[in-house]
Amino acid sequence: MIKCTHCGVELEENMNYCPLCGQPVEKESMPVHEPVHIKGGQNIQKRYISMGQLNRPQKRKVMWEVLSLIVLSGVLGVVLLNLIFNQRITWSVYPLVLGLGIFGYASVFTFWYDKGWQQLLGDMVITFAVLFSLDFTDGMLQWALPVAFPMLVGTLAVGLGLYFIARRSRYYGFDLMAYVFVGLAVLVLLLEGVLSLYHTHGLHLDWSIIVLISVIPVDAVLLYIHFRLRKNPDLKKFFHI
């Protein structure tokens, strides 16, 4: 039997993590290889560790490293090919921007995994940077600021609103679906508004109003199901007197 150095309970010999406190087990018999010299003169103990021994954040970091290596080397390869054949960067700007965007999304996902609203904000910033870069490829800004930016801010606001509602919600169910529908209806209202302003320089709402009106009865049914039927299938207990 071995003991967990953190919480002091007895563990089985084959355990790598304490099932009570989640701390890794320090075993004297773990295969340790010869010290390896690295720059700076520090000695480190090099261990062969399989994926199975890593916890979730460590696994995510490894996946991020692999993905970054593939994406960035791919982007570099494409840019080099473009330079070799055209002597300047032309068509490769699109895979370059998209590649850097993927790298950004993966980094946000890896390092802000548990931080819901920061992750959403980070994704929005990256999306805007990607769209801005794509619009700016010909040296002129056309749609990024008047269309993409308000749409993204609107999407972010709706996304954050839904995120905070989901956080406050005691039971996940049909109510969230209803809130998502409301969010989408608000979003299409915004999209039509932004597009009409861009094209006609005036606010003309048409189909988005129909979407909004259609959502109301659907939401009413969903909320009724959630608060009266699904959460409390036995009304007797909810109304017991």
């Binding site: 919480c7 002091g8 309970v9 007895e10 099932p19 009570l20 005691r170 207990k237 109304f239 007197i241």
Partner: protein
């Protein structure tokens, strides 16, 4: 598993329960500090073998489905809904009796905590009382010891994981023993409260005194009273000492009745196998308007008050008052949020302000000698006291030890030290004390 057991387990898969009469007030009053959570703990001689322990928990939790409940808000009343989720087993970080959490405790109203040699179980009072929770705790300990290879002697009485579940275990026994049209109780006057300042934050802390049970029994026998009566007398005497130390102006201002809430297990008076709350309070008191009391006078008064108040007919009257309130048609039809508001405003005026202290004696835990040998010590932490009571005390016996644990939300441990002094004056020297030095 025999056919009857199987049937009963199947029947009990999905159910909900009304809160029992004693539990009804807690959801309205609970907050981050007044959690209504109490703890049993046992320190073993060997470190906890975690694999065996998890096995034991998974076995035992099947035997007590009525403890795997979530508190739900209805339109008129709160209710308990069974959820077949695993009971949360956590590392004990030293935070005592904290409020139950939807995420870490799976929304249930009990948790198990482990560290080194110690196993603790924390229960919400909404679920059960000391007796019900002690049965669960015993069952968990014995099953764990069996899992580690310790032989369980024949004849040990506990809830075996394979025992059939009786419907009576889920019963609200207050309702069974409710009698209509009994005369109302006389209204009590307000009682003295400890004058100590409350802690500013993270208020709840505990102190403990371990005494020799043999010595206590000898002393109690000397006065021809039970150990509980002797402890109550010492508690009242310590309150009197605190009162005596007050400056004259404060003495005049304070209430002069010292009254203690002592929970009584009603199963010893009214036959019941209920595992839910079935406890009421008796209220021994001394009135300092009549002058100070000697220890002997207090013991005599407490002994007779306890005998009188534990009378079955008097207890029936209290049950009748409490359950009658719950059955009242007007009360029943008031929506829950209004009921909760009324309870919150009435709690101190009709409840907490009437008592100076609380002492819960759970008796002696005895698992038979071979199993007792595996255990170093046993303790019981009472729920955090309310802001009027400020200090409460939980008592549990194990082998020759009697452990008194004080829950305290003030900056002072003066009361605990006074009580220790009284024991010392009586010739009882504590074996272990753990009382912090704080401001007087």
């Amino acid at each position: 598993m025999n056919e009857q057991t199987h049937t009963e387990h199947r029947v009990i898969e999905d159910f909900w329960l009304k809160l029992d009469n004693a539990a009804k007030m807690y959801p309205a009053l609970m907050n981050r500090e007044f959690t209504a959570v109490f703890r049993f703990y046992v320190s073993l001689k060997q470190p906890v073998q975690i694999t065996s322990f998890f096995r034991a928990v998974r076995k035992v939790e099947k035997r007590f489905p009525y403890f795997k409940m979530q508190l739900k808000r209805g339109f008129f009343w709160y209710y308990l809904e069974h959820k077949n989720l695993p009971i949360s087993v956590q590392e004990d970080t030293g935070v005592l009796c904290r409020k139950f959490d939807r995420e870490t405790d799976h929304g249930l109203l009990l948790r198990i905590l482990v560290k080194n040699h110690t196993i603790s179980v924390e229960f919400s009072h909404i679920l059960t009382d000391g007796q019900g929770s002690m049965e669960f705790f015993k069952s968990l300990l014995i099953t764990y010891l069996a899992e580690t290879g310790v032989g369980i002697p024949a004849g040990v009485r506990y809830f075996h994981p394979d025992d059939p579940i009786s419907g009576e275990e889920l019963e609200d026994s207050f309702h069974r023993y409710f009698k209509k049209n009994l005369p109302d109780l006389t209204r009590l006057s307000r009682a003295f409260h400890l004058p100590f300042k409350l802690q500013s934050s993270a208020r709840f802390s505990i102190s403990s005194i371990t005494l020799s049970l043999k010595q206590m029994k000898h002393k109690a026998g000397h006065y021809s009273v039970s150990v509980t009566e002797y402890l109550i007398s010492a508690y009242l005497c310590a309150l009197q000492e605190v009162y005596k130390d007050l400056p004259p102006a404060q003495k005049r201002r304070n209430n002069k009745i010292l009254r203690i809430q002592v929970p009584v297990n009603l199963r010893s008076i009214f036959p019941s196998s209920s595992m839910r709350n079935f406890t009421l309070f008796v209220l021994p008191e001394i009135d300092l308007r009549l002058g100070y009391y000697t220890f002997q006078e207090i013991v005599k008064k407490v002994h007779h008050q306890m005998a009188l108040e534990k009378d079955q007919k008097l207890i029936s009257r209290t049950i009748s008052r409490n359950v009658g309130g719950e059955k009242n048609k007007l009360v029943r039809t008031i929506p829950l949020f209004i009921k909760s508001l009324i309870l919150q405003t009435q709690y101190y005026s009709l409840g907490a302000n009437l008592y100076s202290g609380e002492l819960t004696n759970l008796g002696k835990l005895d698992l038979t000698p071979p199993l007792n040998e595996q255990i170093e010590s046993v303790g019981f932490v009472p729920p955090p006291p309310n802001k009027a009571l400020k200090v409460d005390c939980g008592v549990i016996g194990f082998q020759d030890n009697l452990m008194l644990t004080f829950g305290n939300i003030t900056r002072s441990t003066n009361f605990e030290r006074r009580l220790l002094q009284i024991f010392s004056d009586q010739g009882i020297e504590p074996e272990v004390t753990n009382i912090k030095n704080t401001e007087p």
